[in-house]
């Protein structure tokens, strides 16, 4: 019997990570933490400039910081963490280690992604790519910025292949069995990613690179926006799904509970695969050139992607309640007291879940067709994604790092560090509530996002915004403090925490023994990939054909910074 962890309650032999897998995962984590720190510094400079407290020194402008902040946090920190986490979990649950032949591909992917990151970041710092992380043409950055992004994306495809290789290898040796939940979810995540990132790869490689090198004069603007958001919304699920893996697979073991169902979590990931991609138009509700019918169709599909989150909310809370009741909790909410509030591995993702409630509410509003007109491109949007992405996803990722790094570095997560982690989460939550709730409010009052400090010629409405903008900056400073504390904790765990030759286990939840076996169809990937592609075609074929076959005249490059 292998040292693999399964959810069937078989005795888990002591698992030790292969040295080569440790290095691979840590390499990814290292880049992620570096990107986190630099991206956070950029954010700090932004909020201080925005409140009018500082003027950025010569040579640095607000939009440059904003581009750096977005690219490093939203594209680099996330992608590197995700593959590190997936590799670590696959090694743990599949056969105790990654497939040997897949490791070289993992390093190739890592190299491409790191090189791409450095290229893109260098050009942002040189003010050659102050186009924000959405890089909408006709704004034109240096071609090497786009080349860097392309490398990052293609490198991630290689990393995705590593996940697939490991999954397929296990399936071949265990024919007829349902894959371990972690592996199933990891595969669903990379399938989603491969489908979605195809569209931004087309935008960057087919449209933007030739255009930025000057090989073609003009660019089809609505096509590029459409391709970007076809990718862009699914991107947030690429981030969210690993957080859900933590909640579904790691947390039950951390709290001494059980995974309620082996089937329902798989179904939710299939639903994400289907409905997170054909929905990009809800970012383009105020765009010209797209018929209302198609916009509304994608709004309906967007509402569908809320459903797997509704299922998840019930499943996760249900796991908590059952765990509490198994410990003797009584009454409607007695189980709440039985949860391990003092354990940072639980407390931090729990706060992430709480913040998600508000973030999700804002998301549904943003997607609600006409309601979007009240909030599009205002601070409301920024508040929304700082709650969902920076908090729900970011806090969960941090929590994972708090126990992953000690395991991989053969050190201990001490009670002192545990306490620091809880303090970090509290500071973060306070700062985030202050900042993001205020952002939602001032957005509803009309304050625009992605804009440097301005009084708009002294218009009265701006003075009504000002106190809110100051509050946002106070929240931002608290958040930066929390990030500094988090980075301190991570560095401490990496280099200074007490060593041990019996590191803790990568927590893998066990399925409730009465749950039924997952239906086989949930693992017939060809079916679900097919449906996902068909949905994309239904949602996009007609409006896309219109943009390509009856295009407006293309736009020339502009470099207005």
């Amino acid at each position: 019997m292998s040292t693999a962890a399964t959810e069937k309650g078989e005795t888990l032999a002591k698992h030790r990570y292969d040295e080569r897998d440790r290095r691979l995962v840590l390499a990814h984590v290292g880049v992620a933490v570096g990107a986190l720190l630099i991206g956070a510094i950029a954010g700090l400079l932004q909020v201080m400039e925005r409140a009018g407290w500082i003027r950025l020194p010569a040579g640095i402008n607000y939009y440059q910081m904003l581009t750096l902040h977005g690219v490093l946090l939203a594209l680099v920190f996330t992608t590197f963490f995700i593959f590190g986490y997936l590799y670590a979990g696959l090694a743990r649950t599949l056969d105790g280690r990654l497939v040997s032949s897949s490791r070289k591909w993992a390093w190739i992917g890592y190299g491409m992604m790191t090189l791409g990151t450095l290229l893109a970041a260098a050009h942002i710092l040189m003010n050659e790519a102050t186009v924000l992380y959405t890089f909408y043409p006709p704004l034109q950055a240096s071609p090497w910025f786009y080349v860097g992004l392309a490398l990052l994306v293609v490198g991630s495809w290689v990393a995705s292949a590593v996940v697939i290789i490991n999954y397929v290898h296990w399936r071949r040796r265990n024919r007829g069995e349902s894959s371990p939940l972690f592996a199933y979810m990891a595969l669903a995540t990379v399938i989603l990613w491969l489908h979605a990132s195809l569209y931004v790869a087309i935008e960057v490689v087919v449209q933007l690179i030739p255009w930025s090198f000057g090989w073609v004069d003009r660019v089809n603007v609505p096509l590029s926006r459409t391709l970007f958001w076809w990718f862009g919304h699914a991107l947030v699920y690429f981030w969210l799904l690993p957080a859900y893996i933590y909640w579904y697979v790691n947390i039950p073991q951390i709290i001494g509970g059980k995974i309620l169902s082996g089937s329902l979590p798989r179904l939710t990931f299939i639903l994400f695969l289907l409905f997170s991609i054909p929905v990009g138009f809800h970012h383009q509700l105020t765009d010209p050139g797209i018929q209302p019918f198609w916009k509304f169709l994608q709004v309906a599909l967007t509402m569908a992607v809320v459903v797997p989150t509704l299922i998840t909310a019930f499943s996760i809370l249900g796991t908590f309640e059952m765990a509490g009741r198994a410990r003797g909790a009584k009454g409607l909410f007695g189980w709440v007291k039985k949860l391990p509030w003092g354990d940072v591995r639980f407390f931090t993702p729990f706060m992430a879940m709480i913040i998600f409630i508000l973030g999700g509410a804002g998301g549904i509003i943003l997607a609600s067709y006409q309601l979007n007109q009240l909030v599009h491109n205002t601070w409301f949007v920024t508040g929304h994604f700082h709650m969902t992405m920076a908090s729900t996803v970011g806090l969960t990722y941090l929590a994972a790092l708090y126990w992953m790094i000690p395991i991989l570095r053969h050190r201990r997560l001490t009670p002192a560090i545990n306490r620091l982690g809880i303090i970090q989460t509290v500071i973060w939550t306070v700062g985030m509530m202050l900042m993001s709730v205020t952002m939602h409010v001032v957005g509803l009052m009309g304050a625009p996002r992605r804009s440097s400090f301005s009084t708009y010629g002294g218009h009265e409405i701006v003075s009504s915004w000002m106190p809110h903008l100051q509050l946002i900056s106070v929240g931002g400073i608290l958040l930066f403090a929390a990030i500094l504390l988090a980075v301190y904790i991570l560095i401490h765990l990496w280099f200074f925490a007490p060593k041990t030759d019996r590191p803790a286990e990568f927590p893998i939840g066990v399925v409730y023994e009465r749950a039924s076996e997952p239906p086989r169809i949930l693992e017939r990937w060809s079916v679900w990939i097919g449906v996902s592609v068909v949905l994309s075609i239904i949602a996009y074929a007609v409006p896309l054909a219109d943009m390509i076959l009856h295009p407006a005249p293309g736009a020339l490059p502009v470099r207005p910074w």
């Binding site: 105020t286 010209p288 007109q373 205002t378 005249p553």
Partner: protein
């Protein structure tokens, strides 16, 4: 797959609520004509747009007793025309384009919220019932002067 009874109930309520949102927004859109912006018309190459009608003469044109068409060109970093004045109750049909990059045309306190793209004409209609001085601002990053890009609509009261 066994789904607990309470979970099925919850999903029923949740899905029902989402459908309700769709029914409300769908009705407002397709029965009451309350769509967010659109505009399927194209125009000429952006660098030629200010030499081509109607954008060679941007401004307010009266088409009814209190109804107007506002033809507007966005550029780095301003709007042409920069300011217009209409009486209270004016129904204004906006038709806007850009001569360079993607801009925003946003009037806080109203539903006027448009993406302005080169080569395209974005359209929206809004009735200015309340008198006042309305700020028009660009909310889509368009360069270093983006936060200085603004215009004004004066709505003169009775």
């Amino acid at each position: 797959m066994d789904i607990p009874r309470y979970e099925r109930l919850w999903l029923g309520i949740g899905i029902g609520t989402l459908i309700l949102f769709l029914l409300i927004t769908g009705y407002m859109g397709f029965s009451m004509g309350l769509h967010p912006t659109d505009g399927m018309e194209r125009t000429v190459e952006p660098e030629k747009v200010t030499r081509t009608p109607p954008f060679d003469n941007p401004g307010l044109e009266r088409i009814g007793p209190n109804e107007y068409v506002l033809t507007s060109v966005s550029f780095v970093f301003g709007y042409d025309p920069k300011e217009v004045t209409v009486p209270a109750g004016a129904k204004v049909h906006f038709r806007v384009t850009s001569r360079d990059v993607i801009h925003g045309f946003y009037i806080p306190g109203t539903t006027v919220n448009m993406m302005v793209e080169p080569g395209h004409i974005t359209e929206q209609t809004y009735t200015f019932d309340k008198p006042g001085k309305y700020l028009v601002l660009c909310h889509e990053y368009c360069g270093s002067g983006h936060h200085l890009m603004q215009g004004t609509i004066y709505v003169k009261g009775e």
